[in-house]
Structure formats: structure tokens, C-alpha cells
């Protein structure tokens, strides 16, 4: 029962055996970041990430390897994030540009460019946006993205090409020689 594996600090500190708490600690930033880059709202992203981990807890015994758990978490986080936007479409549309951005360390110019890129990625349609996040946040290959998103590899490649072209064009137009 996964509930028995949850809990004590000693379990969390000890990498063996794998417990729900250790997986939560190791994977929370991955799950949260997928939701956060997609939704661009910290509290909504935490809500989605919490739902993903609650679902993981219910199925913890069925997932046998770390690789399987990572794949499952990426898949569920992606689909849950898309579902969340679909449910809250009107609020999300209003919130996209008004949501305060998190602070990012680095050069002010990079910071500005990152914010601009995050904003442009946030303006992509749902599936191309998630494809971009899985490609550039999670470093997944198109075949892996296709498996996570349950879509043909050709579609993934086409989303990537079109999104990249669109982002390059918008960045070129708005920032001139920043690249």
C-alpha cells in the first residue's frame, strides 16, 4: 500500500527502497515546472502538480521503475495541465499576460528575453505549447514527446517547426538584434 511508504523523514533521506515521499521530493520540480510553464500561474501549477502526485499515490504500486514513474508523471502532468486550461479557458485567457512573472536571476537583458519568450510560449495553442515545454524543459526527443502526448511523431515535428518559426519571427520583430 503506497500510504505505508509515505511519511517519515528517515524514509525520505534513505534512497532505498523507493517511497512515494522520495519520488515526490525528486520529481516535484519537474511536475511543477511542466504545469507552471504551461499555465504561467504558480498557484494553478501547484494545484495541478498536487493532483498529479495524488493520482501517482493511488497508482504507486503499479509503477515499477524510476523511468516508468518519470514517463507517467510527464504524461499525466501534460494532460492535466491541458485539461486545466480547457476547464478554466476564460480565466486563463484573461490571466495570461497579467500574471506576475517569477524572479529570474541573470543579466537584465536575458531576464527580459526569457520573460518575452515565456510569454510567447504561453501564447501558443495548447498542444504546440506543451510540445515546446517537453522539448526544451524536459529535453525530450520528438519520439518521446509523441509517446507522452499520444500523437504521431510527424505532428510533434510539425508543431516544433511551426512554433519555432513563429517564435523566431515574433522575437525578431519585437527585439531586433537581441538574438
Amino acid at each position: 500500500m503506497p500510504g505505508q511508504a509515505v511519511g517519515t523523514e528517515s524514509e525520505v533521506d534513505n534512497p532505498e527502497p523507493r517511497t512515494f515521499a522520495s519520488v515526490l521530493r525528486a520529481q516535484q520540480s519537474m511536475v511543477f515546472s511542466i504545469a507552471y510553464h504551461f499555465l504561467r500561474d504558480r498557484s494553478a501549477a501547484e494545484e495541478v502538480a498536487q493532483d498529479v502526485f495524488l493520482q501517482l499515490h493511488r497508482r504507486f504500486d503499479e509503477l515499477k521503475s524510476d523511468q516508468h514513474i518519470s514517463f507517467w508523471l510527464r504524461k499525466v502532468a501534460s494532460h492535466r495541465s491541458i485539461d486545466y486550461v480547457r476547464k478554466q479557458k476564460s480565466q486563463a485567457a484573461v490571466g495570461l499576460d497579467s500574471v506576475p512573472m517569477p524572479s529570474v536571476d541573470g543579466e537584465p537583458e536575458d531576464h527580459f528575453l526569457n520573460r518575452r519568450l515565456q510569454s510567447l510560449i504561453g501564447s501558443l495553442p495548447e498542444k504546440p505549447r506543451m510540445v515546446m515545454i517537453l522539448r526544451y524543459q524536459e529535453d525530450l526527443m520528438p519520439e518521446e514527446i509523441a509517446s507522452v502526448m499520444e500523437m504521431p511523431v510527424r505532428t510533434v515535428k510539425s508543431h516544433l517547426q511551426r512554433s519555432l518559426a513563429m517564435l523566431r519571427e515574433k522575437i525578431d520583430r519585437s527585439m531586433g538584434d537581441v538574438r
Binding site: 509515505v6 516535484q28 501547484e46 523566431r168
Partner: protein, 100 residues
């Protein structure tokens, strides 16, 4: 991967959730486990009540069948007795009529 893609990667670096996230998820997991336990206890209680109801109903039905069979046999015996008495009386009357 060109410079633009590296910039995209940089813009999409992983972020940490709030420091309380982990504790909040573990709390929610415990609540979920308690709710699951409570609902499974409720399920077992309902299943036990249903089984008890079926057993009681069957026993009552069986008892009723036995009672009805006994009552039927009793009624049959009484009818047979009544028919026997009637038959005897009719034979007596028949003999008297033949004697006239």
C-alpha cells in the same frame, strides 16, 4: 541546437514549487488515504448489511414455506376426516333408505 533554442531552454528551466508544497502533498495524501479507508469501511459495512438482509430474508422465506406446508397438510387431513365422516353418514342414510 542553435542559440535561439538554447535561449528557449534557458527560458524554460525548471522551477521549484513553494517550500510548503511537499508537506501539503503529503498531507493531502494522508487525507486521501483516510477517506479511502473510511469509504472502504463503509463499503464493507454496507456489504455485511446486505448479506445479513439476504440471509434473514431467506430464513424467513424458508420458515414461511414450512409453516404453509404444515398448514396445508393440516387442512388436507381435516378435509379427509370430514369426507370420511360424511361418507360414513351417507352410508348410514343409504342403509336406512334401503330398509324402508
Amino acid at each position: 541546437m542553435d542559440d535561439f533554442e538554447k535561449q528557449l531552454k534557458d527560458a524554460l528551466t525548471k522551477k521549484d514549487p513553494s517550500p510548503f508544497f511537499e508537506a501539503r502533498v503529503l498531507g493531502a495524501v494522508k487525507r486521501q488515504a483516510l477517506e479511502h479507508r473510511a469509504s472502504s469501511r463503509m463499503w464493507w459495512a454496507s456489504a455485511f448489511a446486505a448479506v445479513l438482509l439476504v440471509i434473514t430474508g431467506s430464513a424467513w422465506q424458508h420458515e414461511r414455506t414450512i409453516r404453509e406446508e404444515a398448514a396445508g397438510k393440516d387442512a388436507k387431513a381435516r378435509l379427509e376426516l370430514a369426507l370420511k365422516i360424511t361418507s360414513v353418514k351417507l352410508q348410514r342414510i343409504s342403509r336406512k333408505v334401503e330398509g324402508i
